[in-house]
């Protein structure tokens, strides 16, 4: 009998290992502290650190950084991703430039694909073993700042040699309610919600209301095609690439600002619930979208547009660069237009908005500040990666914008697709916030799962809102 009990215990123990092993990162990493021992110096004042000097920047040899040693950098601009993706390509190019300019510093890079990056960085945060410099996702700012995982960069940002060039609205996701800023927004400002459509089907202008879309959709379905392709199998797409923009038309921007500031707005407010109800209606009661929207990812859904079985697609800027690369040389390439989400009949706020921003920012581990020279090097890297050289590179090569104002772009070398998308992204449209750049991952995890059920019609908008509100109150 004893043997039996023991064998049961061992079997179950093995079964439970999968998860429990994940909870033990601290014990495993405890001896792996990579930051230097604290020096007697206090944290340098922002005005006397090397990064603030005029001559920093990767293009020049020896920029006066006193630090010699290793500096860890973790990011997700893999070489695969940089193919055709301007932000990634620019980021990698800037890293390479900075390395060349600072031969005395060994930059230890840890590059992971985005999904893996998110898991890995969360694990390192839990183990209090974050790298020296890394990319912070907006929604983690408040929680990580509270725990002292990220360096308060407010003064350093003010002291940046490029401070006057920064587009200050991009700092919002990395700012805590008390006004402190914790990261320099990185990569390119890209939309999360854009409709790519076939002008030969929809006409030069995409319909501006959902009623018109529905009317037109009937003809498209009769031809055996899908009017609009959408993929939500990952559950985040409905949030980032749909609700975030659609709900803004119902609630107005103040509502979300109030959510961020805990100013009294609620997910259960009737305006937000109305936006959920409209989403449910569009996906569940009309034939506008592909039937398998909840079973395919955005990567699958955009293929429906590429292969012509769908006449439009809703996705983010990352989808635009992929579709652009795939369609080059085809008729559809020349006939693709960009549009914002159509307006709903009962929505009262601004039409023509799209959610755009910089979702990740370069953040620094507070332990780096123990060594003023190392901090100066880390700041120099952060300034350079998000500075005018980066903006210049992505503007010149990809017609994209970054944190600093873009220089004048020579438009003659770009084709119509690139120019159209640039104008659509930065010139012709109103902007609104990307929901999941803010608040807390726990809230989005709950809301996203419920949204998927709601779009199937198996959950009411009221219940979705109530669950999200409960998660908001418990986690934010």
């Amino acid at each position: 009998m004893k043997k039996k009990v023991l064998s049961i215990f061992l079997t179950v123990a093995m079964a439970a290992t999968l998860l429990t092993a994940c909870g033990d990162k601290e014990a495993n990493n405890g001896g792996n502290e990579s930051t230097p021992a604290p020096t007697t110096d206090s944290t340098p004042a922002p005005d006397n650190n090397g990064g603030g000097e005029e001559n920093n920047g990767g293009g020049e040899e020896s920029n006066g950084l006193a630090y010699a040693g290793t500096l860890e950098l973790m990011h997700f601009s893999t070489s695969e991703e940089s193919q055709g993706n301007g932000g990634s390509d620019g980021f990698r190019t800037m890293i390479a430039n900075w390395k060349t300019a600072n031969p005395g510093i060994t930059l230890e890079e840890n590059v992971l694909a985005n999904d893996d990056y998110k898991t890995q960085i969360a694990t390192l945060a839990a183990a209090n073993d974050l790298p020296d410099v890394f990319l912070l996702q907006g929604m983690n700012t408040i929680a990580w700042a509270d725990q002292g995982l990220i360096l308060d960069m407010t003064d350093y940002i003010a002291a940046s040699p490029y401070a006057s060039d920064y587009n200050n609205s991009y700092f919002a996701p990395f700012t805590t309610p008390d006004g402190k800023i914790y990261a320099l927004p990185a990569l390119t400002g890209g939309t999360c919600t854009v409709i790519m459509y076939d002008k030969t089907v929809w006409g030069d202008e995409f319909p501006s209301t959902w009623e018109e879309v529905e009317a037109k959709a009937a003809d498209i379905i009769a031809e055996g095609k899908t009017p609009i392709a959408f993929g939500n199998s990952g559950q985040w797409q409905a949030n980032s690439c749909f609700i975030s923009t659609l709900a803004d038309r119902y609630t107005g921007p103040d509502w979300y600002m109030s959510m961020i500031a805990k100013g009294g707005a609620k997910f259960t407010d009737p305006e937000f619930v109305a936006a959920l109800a409209e989403t449910q209606r569009l996906f569940n009661q009309t034939e506008i979208f592909n039937k398998d929207f909840n079973a395919v990812s955005n990567e699958d859904a955009r293929e429906y547009y590429i292969d012509g079985s769908a006449t439009a697609f809703i996705g983010g800027n990352w989808d635009v660069s992929y579709v652009q690369a795939s369609l080059e040389g085809t008729d559809l390439y020349n006939n693709t237009g960009f549009a914002v989400l159509p307006q709903s009949a009962d929505a009262t706020h601004q039409r023509g908005s799209q959610n755009i921003g910089l979702g990740y920012g370069v953040a620094i581990n507070p332990a780096v500040a123990n060594d003023p020279d190392k901090l100066a090097a880390a700041l120099d890297l952060a300034y350079y990666l998000t500075g005018p050289d980066f903006s210049g590179f992505v503007a010149e090569n990809y017609a994209l914008g970054g944190l600093t104002a873009a220089p004048d772009v020579d438009w003659s070398k770009f084709d119509q697709w690139t120019i159209d998308f640039y104008n659509w992204s930065y010139v012709d449209t109103e902007t609104c916030e990307i929901y999941d750049s803010y608040l807390d991952g726990a809230i989005w995890s709950v809301l996203n799962a419920d949204l998927q059920a709601m779009m199937n019609g198996s959950m009411s908008p009221e219940d979705v809102a109530a669950n999200a509100q409960a998660a908001y109150e418990a986690n934010y």
């Binding site: 039996k4 093995m14 439970a16």
Partner: protein, 297 residues
């Protein structure tokens, strides 16, 4: 064993200590630390605040967790019937005199269990695909396109649909275990039974089953343990969706720990999984013990 080739006690100990140490560090240490962490509010940073039983009270009231538990139990039931039941039937078929090329059947039967669960998930995701999937293609070919649907988006079917690949994958594994058990049965028993006029079904129920009963019990225990930790192929196929319709406990724990960065509560969930698995396996052993006692009388 003659003393000449018997290793010294110290040598035996040295060899055995290696797996024991690995086991202790890979299983018991994480288990104990998870138990400790489960009493803390730990939102993925250096700050851990002791909060007593709060995580467990939350767990007790967490409808998603209990939904996931029901899904695991569903998986266990489907897989006991599907994996072990079908494996038992296959073994009888392979052992029949009418079947040729037994080795090939065995090899191909076992083959799926050597494939990574993630790959299996991708393969079956393609089979279930709405536009290009095998099932919808077949329905179209037989003129029943009215039955086509987005399979993995059907909330009432999705648990069964994610269980099918698991059944398919592991039949061969249990087949091999059962085959070895059956091959140890004395062939004379079958010959005598045949002479007495027992048909194949009677031989299966009255001879094979009682003689391999203990092996089947081992299979059931393995099956329960395996399915209480189901994760990979479901993660690939549905990520627990639509909504939480195919959420299982391990995936919920992963989601809470990493997507929601709530490590303290995630630890409480893993402890919950451990305790529930212990109860289910213990319960099933007790039930089986009860049943076998009755049949012995």
């Amino acid at each position: 064993m003659p003393n000449a080739i018997k290793p010294k006690k110290s040598v035996l100990f040295a060899y055995l200590i290696i797996p024991v140490v690995i086991f202790v560090f890979a299983v018991f240490v994480p288990l104990v630390t998870a138990l400790v962490y489960s009493f803390f509010q730990w939102k993925g940073g250096p700050v851990k605040t002791f909060n007593g039983l709060t995580n467990y009270i939350t767990l007790f009231k967490d409808s998603t967790f209990w939904l996931s538990f029901r899904h695991n139990i569903f998986l266990v039931l489907v897989c006991i019937i599907g994996q072990i039941g079908i494996a038992f039937i296959f073994v009888l078929m392979i052992n029949s005199k009418l079947v040729k090329l037994k080795g090939i059947h065995r090899t191909f039967g076992f083959f799926p269990s050597t494939v990574a669960a993630v790959s299996i998930g991708f393969i079956w995701k393609m089979i279930y695909d709405y536009n290009r999937g095998l099932i919808n293609w077949f329905l179209d070919k037989i003129g029943r396109s009215d039955l086509q649907q987005v399979w993995l988006n059907n909330e009432s079917l999705v648990m069964l649909l994610v269980a099918i690949p698991l059944v398919w994958q592991w039949i061969g594994y249990y087949m091999v275990i059962l085959l070895s058990a059956i091959s140890s049965i004395d062939q004379e028993i079958f010959e005598v039974a045949e002479l007495d006029g027992a048909n194949a079904v009677q031989r299966a129920i009255y001879i094979v089953f009682p003689l391999v009963k203990n092996t089947i019990l081992v299979c059931i225990t393995l099956c329960i343990a395996g399915n209480m930790k189901a994760f990979d192929n479901i993660y690939v196929m549905t990520s627990g969706g639509p909504g939480n319709a195919s959420m299982v406990m391990a995936m919920y724990g992963y989601q809470v720990s990493f997507s929601q960065q709530n490590m303290g509560y995630g630890s409480a969930i893993s402890v919950g999984i451990f305790v529930l698995s212990l109860l289910v396996i213990g319960g099933s052993q007790w039930l089986i013990g009860l049943m076998t006692k009755k049949s012995d009388v």
